[in-house]
């Protein structure tokens, strides 16, 4: 893999540091000791102080400009390395790249600042140092976390996931050309959970944010409490998304839009619909056929990324279990793409079926709000986003459905992944959740 670099440590001389392997990737990264961590924080602090001299409004404009320029420039030299590390196809990476930066325009950032009354917050209440522990499944939160930190003027340290260790480095690297002050105010380095570097980095922070599996978040929270009990912790755990469609909304264009939501990030993100709740009726089966066609088209225009042998075997196992469902009358119909590329599984009755992701879509028919509630049960509590088109429903019925589902984001099919900067992931206000007492 042609990787420009797998870390970003502004002001430190990598040649003077020891080296280690980044998990099982084979990538070489520096190994830091306590004095290196302290030196790095000092470098970041100095850059952040310079950056904070600009007003909030100016910082917002710079972040918007940087997002626009990153969006236009594309991954550049990082294309090949990112395609491998993200597992996305080249076309998938290009589409994902666009989705990462598109929402961060001036209007989006202004809306965030207004929503959070950011201008009225005393500067001393914003954190000076933030550490972000990133998940490895999707890209938008990486830039979102970084951009929030830039807006509040913090020095930032990002710990990427071993599963996708390069996007954060790529961002920091590209920022060096676009806005060196921002590049100098953030470091990116992976460490093994629990190793001394982690404690040294975390203990020096004001705020730690973390994204990932619930167990990972809980373990990090415990470790943080042990080494730095006063550090604020903001955890974003495992969440999932669905689509909710009324009978009248089951149209060919709607299917095309939803297929895009499903295809982006190969269904790996918390805003990727992994289940479709569709009002039952005679139009449902033809609509599923449309969704299947749209997923087939998406496979041509936006091919799924390469999967490991075990992952493909997992999809095969799921597919064959669904076929058993056909035999048992639990599945009304199954549409399949070539190989394991995609599938649409129309269930015979309202019940929950977990998708293995990577473009495999169970469609649950329902006739009433009660059936939706019975299907989801406690899973409602971890619902993040809802791609929804409730055409034909009256206001009361819409309100009842959304009030029960309580997603953090509701958007028309095709736009669910384009979360604006003001989106309150996991119901946490994006900026105010960073405030320190």
């Amino acid at each position: 893999m042609n990787v420009p670099r797998a870390f970003h440590l502004p002001g430190l001389d990598p040649a003077a540091l020891g080296s280690q392997s980044l998990a099982t990737t084979g990538l070489s990264i520096p190994r830091l000791h306590l004095e290196h961590v302290q030196a790095q924080w000092a470098e970041l602090d100095a850059a952040a102080r310079r950056w904070r001299r600009r007003s909030l409004a100016v910082r917002a404009r710079v972040v918007a400009r940087v997002a626009r320029e990153l969006r236009q420039a594309g991954p550049g030299d990082w294309q090949e390395a990112l395609a491998l590390s993200t597992g996305l196809s080249p076309a998938g990476l290009a589409a994902a790249w666009d989705v990462v930066f598109a929402p961060w325009d001036t209007a989006g950032i202004d809306a965030l600042l207004r929503q959070e009354h950011a201008a009225g917050v005393a500067a001393s209440r914003w954190p000076s140092r933030i550490v972000h522990v990133l998940a490895g499944n999707v890209l938008p939160p990486v830039f979102a976390m970084l951009a929030r930190g830039f807006l509040v003027g913090a020095a930032q340290w990002l710990r990427p996931a071993s599963r996708e260790p390069l996007f954060a480095v790529c961002l920091a690297d590209r920022l060096r050309e676009l806005e060196p002050e921002l590049s100098d105010a953030c470091a990116v380095l992976w460490w093994a959970h629990g190793e001394p570097t982690e404690a040294a980095v975390l203990a020096a922070a004001d705020v730690v944010t973390a994204q990932g599996e619930d167990a990972t978040i809980a373990a990090l929270r415990t470790r943080l409490a042990a080494v730095a009990p006063r550090v604020r912790f903001v955890g974003y755990g495992s969440r999932w998304s669905a689509a909710l469609l009324s009978r009248d909304a089951q149209t060919e264009p709607g299917a095309r839009s939803l297929a895009r939501d499903i295809a982006l990030f190969d269904q790996q993100g918390c805003l990727s619909p992994s289940l479709v709740l569709a009002e039952d009726g005679p139009q449902l089966e033809p609509w599923c056929q449309s969704l299947a066609r749209s997923l087939a088209d998406a496979q041509n225009a936006l091919p799924r990324g390469a999967l490991s042998d075990p992952a493909r075997a997992g999809l095969r196992a799921w597919r064959e279990r669904m076929r058993v469902g056909v035999a048992l009358g639990e599945v009304r119909r199954l549409w399949e793409g070539e190989g394991t590329t995609w599938s649409v599984v129309l269930l015979a009755s309202p019940r929950f079926v977990e998708s293995p992701l990577d473009r495999q879509v169970p469609v649950v028919p329902f006739r009433s709000q009660e059936e939706i509630e019975a299907v989801l049960g406690d899973r409602r509590d971890t619902l993040q986003g809802l791609a929804t088109d409730l055409l034909g429903w009256d206001a009361a019925r819409r309100a009842a459905a959304l009030a029960w589902l309580r997603p953090t984001r509701v958007a028309p099919p095709g736009t669910l992944q384009l979360a604006p900067p003001a989106w309150a992931q996991d119901h946490a206000p994006p900026l105010r959740s960073l405030l320190v007492d």
Binding site: D309, P310, A311, R312, A313, G314, L315, R316, A317, W318, R319, E320, R321, R323, V324, V326, A327, L328, E330, L334, E338, G339, T340, E354, P356
Partner: protein, 392 residues
């Protein structure tokens, strides 16, 4: 035994063949025939017999098992279209959890073995209308791989007796082999969910004092519990040469996990059983036959070594499913890691060709296990022991 005349006809043919067919590898080479130590003509006859019985069995099971028939129809592979065993659809074992998979009416059932699911309602069941074929397959495989050198041996079983676990296929199997080959001093040392540690110690010491080889039988995570208990008491025993240990079931998150090399080293340290005499078994409730590691035969009989490969009987054909096409491939032709399927002709009463959730990499005429496919639930015989600690 079932009253179905076609079932009786097939059963009779299968009994006749399984009684004489190779029960496991006895040689080396890239092909199955070489590993069974067969000349070309015998290998060809073996192939012909397997194909013929597999297709007969497919037609029989297709006709009698609605879920299997529906699955085959969904794949558009019915007996009239299938010409070779490779194309017989492999039913996901998940089906056994969801519906009764049996080629006979419920009133003819003589035994039911349940998989050990993680909750009470997700276990699958193997329904049997007779035990003759089941017993023959398990005994021939066990004898070939675990007792190729002896008429009897002192057997210490560390899995619940069938009286305590009537639906455990592993309990049934180990009790069956204990009755068949167990010398005086044999016994089941697992009761009320616990290994009876004091009794085990005493039995091991008795075996040592009598200078008689001992065969220890249990699950992998059961052995971890026992080895931990032995380590706590600094207990070691030098068992007589020829002693051996049978382990099965993996860990499934039910105990501290030990790499097999570490498990074997601890066994050698504690019981003086050499690594070559630790026999791994791979089986599942839904299957009538088992697969084994081959190091014991190699050590005892001087057979050529087969690295990281499972030995299996001639009436069982493991295959690896191509993830993209969904088609099972013969091991010699498989290219990638994929789901493991087993075409087990001893499964006359249920479905012969089964798709597991185990991952395997092809290794010539055999395979190497690569764990469970992502998101597969914990399950398996070994779970019977999951609550089991070691009692004094």
């Amino acid at each position: 035994m079932t009253r179905d005349p076609e079932a009786r006809r097939l059963e009779s043919q299968l009994l006749e063949w399984i009684a004489v067919a190779p029960a496991g590898f006895a040689g080396s080479g890239a092909t199955r025939a070489a590993r069974y130590g067969l000349e070309a003509a015998a290998a060809s006859e073996l192939e012909r017999r397997f194909e013929s019985l597999a297709l007969d069995l497919f037609a029989f099971q297709f006709e009698r098992i609605p879920v299997y028939r529906g699955y085959c129809q969904a794949l558009d592979r019915t007996p009239s279209r299938v010409r070779r065993s490779l194309d017989v659809p492999a039913l996901p074992v998940d089906a056994f959890r969801r519906v009764r998979v049996a080629a006979f009416p419920a009133q003819e059932e003589v035994r039911a073995f349940r998989t050990s699911g993680t909750t009470g309602d997700d276990s699958g069941t193997l329904h049997l209308d007779g035990l003759e074929l089941y017993d023959l397959a398990l005994e021939r495989g066990f004898e070939h791989h675990v007792l190729p050198d002896r008429e009897t041996i002192r057997m210490l079983v560390l899995v619940a007796h069938p009286d305590e676990a009537p639906h455990s296929s592993l309990s049934y199997m180990l009790e069956r082999v204990r009755r068949r080959w167990g010398a005086p001093g044999s016994g089941t040392l697992f009761r009320d969910g616990e290994v009876r540690w004091c009794e085990l110690r005493a039995a091991l010491e008795a075996g040592r004092d009598a200078r008689e080889p001992v065969c220890l039988l249990g699950t992998a995570f059961g052995w971890v519990h026992v080895l931990d208990a032995a380590a706590r008491e600094s207990f070691r025993v030098e068992l007589a040469p020829g002693s051996r240990l049978f382990e099965t079931g993996g860990y499934k998150g039910r105990s501290r996990e030990l790499a097999r090399a570490d498990l074997v080293a601890a066994i050698e340290r504690t019981f003086a059983i050499p690594s070559s005499h630790v026999v791994s078994e791979y089986g599942m409730t839904e299957m009538g036959s088992q697969l084994y590691s081959t190091s014991l035969r190699q050590a005892l009989l001087g057979e050529p070594p087969l690295a990281a490969a499972w030995s299996y009987p001639a009436w069982l054909r493991p295959r690896i499913v191509d993830s993209e096409s969904g088609a099972p491939r013969e091991l010699e032709e498989a290219l990638h890691v994929g789901l493991l399927a087993h075409h087990d002709l001893a499964n006359r009463a249920a479905v012969a060709h089964l798709l597991t959730a185990d991952l395997a990499a092809p290794r010539g005429a055999s395979f190497e296990l690569r764990g469970r496919c992502p998101r597969a639930d914990l399950r398996g015989c070994g779970l019977l022991h999951e609550e089991g600690s070691v009692a004094p």
